[in-house]
Symmetry: C2
Subunit: 341 residues, 2 copies
C-alpha cells in the first residue's frame, strides 16, 4: 500500500543558541477502544511500519494460547518478549532462561548478533574482549518468544522468521486483529532482526494500544492475554527496555498508569488504560531523538501524564543539547499542540 | 536572525521492502562566484549554521597571514585544520605535529575529548584500555590551527575559543567576507567543540565555496590562501576526513576535481572549480545518512560528477539498508530534481 496523501506537522525543534538548527515533522493519532479519533497532529492515518511497537501485539499468541503459563514464564520473561532491551547482563540472562524454557539455546536465535544498545554494556563487552552475540540483540526476547510459540504449537523451530512460518502467520493474524485492519491491509517488510514488520496506519496502531490497555470488549482469552502482557511490563519495566530508557522510565514515573513502546525509525505507541486511549506517532525522518519529546508532550497535553510525572521525565521531554565539553548549547523541544476531535 | 519563510522539498527517501519508511526534506543552493543562483532545491536562502562546513573558511586567516608557511605546515597538517577527522592514528599524530609547530601540546586544546568518529579506531582505543583525548576529537585540527594562528598573531592562546578572542574575530571576518554577508548578518552559536559556529543562508555558504575553488576574483593574498587550502585537501584527502568517509572518497573518485566538506546536523558544502560553482545543502532534520546521497546526486545532476565517478561513490549516493544479519532490506535514495535558474 503506497503512502497516501498526508499533511506533515512540525513536532520538534532542535535549537542551538539563538537559532532553530533542525526540525522534526511527524504524525500522531490518539484513539479510543472503538477506534474513534480523539486527538491528532499531522495526518493520523499516516501509513508506516509499526516496527518494534508491534512487539507487545506479537507476544499475544504465546500468552493467549496458554503457552506462557505452560512454560512457566516469569513476568520478566514475558516483558522481555515485548522488549527492545539494552543488552544488559540481566536482559541476556533472562533471554537465556526464556530460551531454556522453550527447550532451545541461543544457537536457535536467528536475529543475528548486535552490540548492546546500552552503551556501557557494549563497552563492558569490548573491555572484556567478548564479541556481541544474538542474546545481546535488542530483539532476542521477541525471538525467544517466537521459538517458545513454535514449541507450544508443535511446529518446527527452523525458518521461524519466514513470513510463511506458522508462528509468523499467527503473529500477523494477532496484529491485524488488534489493529482492526484486514491482513491484506498490512504491508510486510523485513525488520533489522530478520522477521516481518507490519505496515499500517498509525491510527490502527493506536487502536491496538487502546485495546491492549482496556481489553474489556475483547474475547475473554484475548483480553486476559492483554492484561498479562501489560501487567508484565507494569511490574517489570526494566525488561522491556532498560537503564536510562524512556519506555522503562515512563512506567516508573507513572506507577504503571501508562505503558509505551519505542519502535525504530521514529515510532512510538502507548496505552493509557485509565482513559481507555491508545496513542501512536511517527517521526517522518525516523529520528529517535524526536520520539520521546513528542510522546511525553502528547501524553502531558492529553492529561494522561501528570505535571509531577512530566517533571520526572523532563530529560526525555525537553533534553538539553550539550557540546563535548558538557556545556548546554541548545535543547530539543516539542512545538506542537494536539488537535482535539 | 530568525528562520525565514521557506519551502521544504523532499530530497531523500529511506525504503524498507515495498514502503517508503522515512523521508528527509531539505534545501540546496548552487551558485557561481558572483553569487548568482544556478540551481536549487527547496529554499536556497534557508538560514542555518554552516557547522564544520565552515572549517575551510576558518583556515584562511592562518594561511593568508603567511602563518602556515612560517610554521612550515605540511599539506596534511593544513588539510587537518579543515578536517572533521576520524580520530585515526595518522590523524592524531598529525594533530600532535601541528600543535608542536604552534609551540603547544594537546593540553592547550579546548575542544574536549571525543571518541574517534571512525568506529574501529574507537574500538582499538577501548581494547587497549586507553581513554579518548582531545586529539581524537574530530575538530582537533581546527583547534590546533586556531592555536597556531594565535601564536602567529602574537596573542594569548588562552580562551582562544571565546567569540571575543582575536583569533575568533579573524575567523568571523574571513567567513563573513567569503560568504558575502556582513558580520552582523551572521548568527553565532556554539559548536560541539566549544567554538563559535556561523549561521547564514545556505546560498552564502555556497558562494564561499564557489570562491574557494575559483578564487581569481579575490585579492591576491586571499586567492593564494584559497588555492593552498583547496590543494592541501586535493593532495591529502585522507586528512580532511579519513577511512570510509565521503569527503575523502569524493576527492579520490574525482581526482580532486571536486572537494567537499561535511557539517553536523545535515550540512554539506562543495566546490566545483572547473564549473566555477559552489554548492551547499541542509537536511532539515539534521540526519547524516541523508547528506551524502543528496550531495552526490546534486553533483551528478550538475554534470560535475561524471557517471563513472558516481559509480565509484554509489555506496554513498544510494546506500542499501541492511538488517543485522546482513540482508538488504531497503535503500536510501535521492528523489529530487534540481531546479535550474
Amino acid at each position: 500500500m503506497p503512502l497516501q496523501e498526508h499533511h506533515s506537522e512540525k513536532l520538534i525543534e532542535v535549537t542551538r543558541g539563538p537559532l532553530t538548527e533542525s526540525v522534526h515533522a511527524g504524525h500522531l493519532a490518539v484513539v479510543d477502544t472503538a477506534g474513534t479519533l480523539i486527538a491528532s497532529a499531522g495526518s493520523p492515518g499516516y501509513y508506516t511500519y509499526a516496527r518494534s511497537a508491534a512487539k507487545l501485539l506479537q507476544a499475544i499468541p504465546l500468552v493467549e494460547s496458554g503457552g506462557a503459563e505452560r512454560l512457566g514464564l516469569t513476568e520478566a520473561e514475558t516483558a522481555l518478549c515485548c522488549a527492545s532491551h539494552g543488552g544488559e547482563p540481566r536482559h541476556t540472562e533472562t533471554a537465556r532462561s526464556l530460551l531454556a524454557k522453550a527447550g532451545c539455546d541461543e544457537s536457535a536465535l536467528c536475529c543475528g548478533p548486535q552490540e548492546p544498545m546500552f552503551a556501557p554494556a557494549a563497552d563492558m563487552l569490548k573491555a572484556g574482549g567478548q564479541p556481541a552475540t544474538a542474546l545481546h540483540n535488542n530483539c532476542s526476547g521477541k525471538h525467544a518468544g517466537m521459538l517458545a510459540l513454535a514449541q507450544i504449537m508443535g511446529v518446527s523451530i527452523h525458518q521461524y522468521t519466514d513470513p510463511g512460518h506458522p508462528v509468523q502467520q499467527k503473529m500477523l493474524a494477532a496484529v491485524a486483529d488488534m489493529c482492526g485492519v484486514p491482513q491484506s491491509g498490512i504491508t510486510l517488510g523485513i525488520d533489522g532482526c530478520g522477521v516481518p514488520v507490519f505496515g499500517m496506519p498509525i491510527s490502527a496502531l493506536a487502536l491496538a494500544y487502546a485495546r491492549l490497555g482496556s481489553p474489556a470488549g475483547l474475547p475473554e482469552q484475548r483480553a486476559e492475554a492483554c492484561r498479562r502482557i501489560v501487567d508484565s511490563i507494569r511490574h517489570q519495566p526494566y525488561y522491556v527496555a532498560g537503564t536510562a530508557r524512556f519506555d522503562t522510565a515512563l512506567v516508573e514515573a507513572t506507577g504503571g498508569r501508562i505503558i509505551g513502546k519505542f519502535g525504530a525509525e521514529g515510532v512510538y505507541a502507548a496505552s493509557i488504560p485509565e482513559l481507555g486511549l491508545g496513542l501512536a506517532l511517527k517521526i517522518e525522518d525516523g529520528a529517535e531523538r524526536a520520539i520521546y519529546p513528542a510522546a511525553a508532550e502528547a501524553l502531558l497535553q492529553l492529561g494522561a501524564l501528570r505535571p509531577e510525572e512530566a517533571e520526572k521525565l523532563a530529560a526525555f521531554r525537553r533534553p538539553p543539547v550539550y557540546n563535548r565539553r558538557g556545556d548546554t548549547v541548545g535543547e530539543i523541544r516539542p512545538v506542537f499542540t494536539l488537535t482535539r476531535h
